[in-house]
């Protein structure tokens, strides 16, 4: 690869662009063999097929500068591969800076000392995917791409369609045809192109990868723009640390689909420690999967460092990735930090949704149910310390997955409109 010239600020036409167009990002680097590439819409190493990741040469970043920033993920722009000038970023929906909720009632129920819920259902389209899309769309515009596209289990579909609508870009979203109706409707409402594919998410992902070979002017946010996209997940980790008063928790439980979010929370905390923004205290990272799609959990339990693909069968469709390419890296993080990866069957996912809702007033989608249910399992098995400060991530809103609970919750009673009738049911 040609050497990068960090002083070159002129935009480069086509698929590449000069590094300064991406803030302090300097290159794409292969996670497997270390080969480097210019910042462009590429995602796989030409030498070994390994995934590419953004490398930086960060300037010093101070807490005060971040705290003076906007109440969105853009307060961390200096730590992201985005243009240095905010005017160059698209007029997006400014996701992030979601609440870190102290969950005392849930903690009491589980016998924990201190528990927090990082609630990303508060994002513009009600899931953490708004974060990754904000960064990917900025990259797409910087690279001069005409269309943004994605393969999605639903939440990403919502986020891409909405952000593209807001930015005035064309969107093409591909989803499995059997997704929850709410996710289909709430994507189609934004008016982009929505393609329902008769297959699993892994089939859709494969299709997008093949289509991307021949659509050089499209940015597939989670395929060709993946190195940029994935960096958006770091902002969950940054926010947790800042909201705790610039310190790291002892334990975190993260839902695992591709495995990317888990690895990026870890990356965020390591970056903050290296930058001197937090004390680099030890923490343990735990992953949560549904038993019906648990390739990473199985590999963890078996002591393997490769992840054998599975065919998903679970109500947690947003986590139903049977072939998670970041799985090996998620395993590395869990093992390096002394964490674990666990899984729970669908019945416990529903119980997890209900437990969080009745104790904290947070209605999570199925992925949040997985996280809470795995938290409980890890406590029961002694793998997670009830006395250590713990954060769990709720990545999406329960209104998106009503199907999961529609058969188990409903009216306490159905009565005639009379006082007598009210009394008859014991109220």
């Amino acid at each position: 690869m040609p050497a990068l010239d960090a002083t070159d600020v002129a935009p480069t036409p086509g698929r590449g662009a000069s590094p300064r167009r991406f803030g302090s990002a300097t290159a794409l680097v292969c996670r497997e063999c270390g080969a480097t590439y210019d910042l462009s819409a590429r995602y796989a190493c030409e030498e070994c097929f390994g995934p590419l990741e953004v490398a930086y040469d960060h300037p010093p970043v101070r807490r005060a500068d971040i705290e003076a920033g906007p109440p969105s993920l853009w307060r961390y722009a200096d730590l992201l591969p985005v243009p240095p000038d905010p005017a160059d970023r698209p007029t997006d929906l400014a996701p992030g800076w979601t609440r870190l909720h102290r969950a005392d009632r849930l903690a009491a129920e589980l016998g924990m000392r201190r528990l927090w819920v990082k609630d990303d259902s508060g994002n513009p389209t009600h899931s953490f995917k708004d974060r990754v899309v904000a960064v990917a769309l900025t990259a797409a515009r910087t690279l001069g791409l005409s269309t943004v596209a994605c393969a999605s289990t639903g939440n990403l579909a919502n986020a891409v369609a909405a952000a593209a609508a807001r930015a005035g870009l064309r969107s093409v979203v591909l989803v499995p045809a059997d997704l929850e109706a709410g996710k289909i409707v709430s994507t189609a409402a934004y008016g982009g192109t929505l393609v329902a594919v008769e297959g699993s998410y892994d089939d859709v992902n494969r299709l997008c990868s093949e289509v991307a070979f021949d659509r050089a002017d499209w940015g597939f946010v989670n395929v060709t723009l993946r190195p940029f996209y994935a960096e958006g997940s770091k902002t969950v980790g940054y926010e947790v640390a800042e909201q705790l008063g610039w310190r790291l928790p002892d334990q975190v439980v993260v839902p695992v689909a591709s495995g990317s979010l888990l690895t990026k929370v870890d990356k965020a905390w390591r970056e903050l420690g290296s930058a001197g923004l937090v004390e680099p205290t030890p923490y343990r990272v735990f992953g949560a999967q549904a038993t019906g799609c648990a390739p990473v959990s199985r590999a963890f339990a078996a002591g393997l460092d490769v992840v054998a693909p599975v065919r998903p069968a679970t109500i947690a469709k947003s986590l139903a990735i049977g072939n998670p390419a970041d799985g090996p890296y998620a395993l590395d993080v869990a093992r390096r930090t002394g964490g674990a990866v666990g899984d729970v069957p669908d019945e416990e996912i529903v119980e997890g949704i209900r437990l969080l809702a009745r104790t904290e007033g947070i209605f999570a989608e199925t992925a949040g149910g997985v996280t809470v249910a795995v938290l409980r399992r890890l406590l029961e098995s002694g793998q997670l310390d009830p006395d250590a400060e713990t954060v769990v991530l709720n990545t999406g809103d329960g209104l998106k997955t009503l199907d999961a609970v529609v058969d188990v919750v409903g009216p306490t009673a159905t009565i005639r409109p009379s006082y007598e009738s009210f009394q008859e049911v014991g109220l």
Binding site: C45, F49, D214, S258
Partner: protein, 91 residues
């Protein structure tokens, strides 16, 4: 047995830009060997030093991920299509 191979963008320098090529082979291992004979060097991009499929390469024979079949031993019937795709995490 003639098999069509869909070539990912990052390997098209070997195939002079061709997105699809045709090779002979009764199994995926034969197909990879056939590819390397016609386009020297391409085999080492798909296989590691021990001759196994690289960790971040997904290969499909028609619609079947070969890891659900017999890996490099997966049969490649005449007329089938082999797709070589960089693994991408999705999600």
């Amino acid at each position: 047995m003639s098999v069509t191979v869909r070539v990912p963008t990052i390997l098209r320098t070997y195939t002079k830009g061709a997105a699809e090529v045709t090779v002979e082979g009764a199994t995926l291992a034969d197909v990879v060997a056939g590819l390397d004979a016609t386009y020297p060097g391409i085999g080492a991009r798909v296989l590691d030093d021990e001759g196994r499929l690289r960790r971040f390469v997904n290969v499909y024979v028609d619609d079947e991920d070969v890891r659900f079949a017999d890996g490099l031993g997966t049969p490649t019937p005449a007329g089938s299509t082999v797709s070589v795709i960089p693994a991408v995490a999705g999600g």
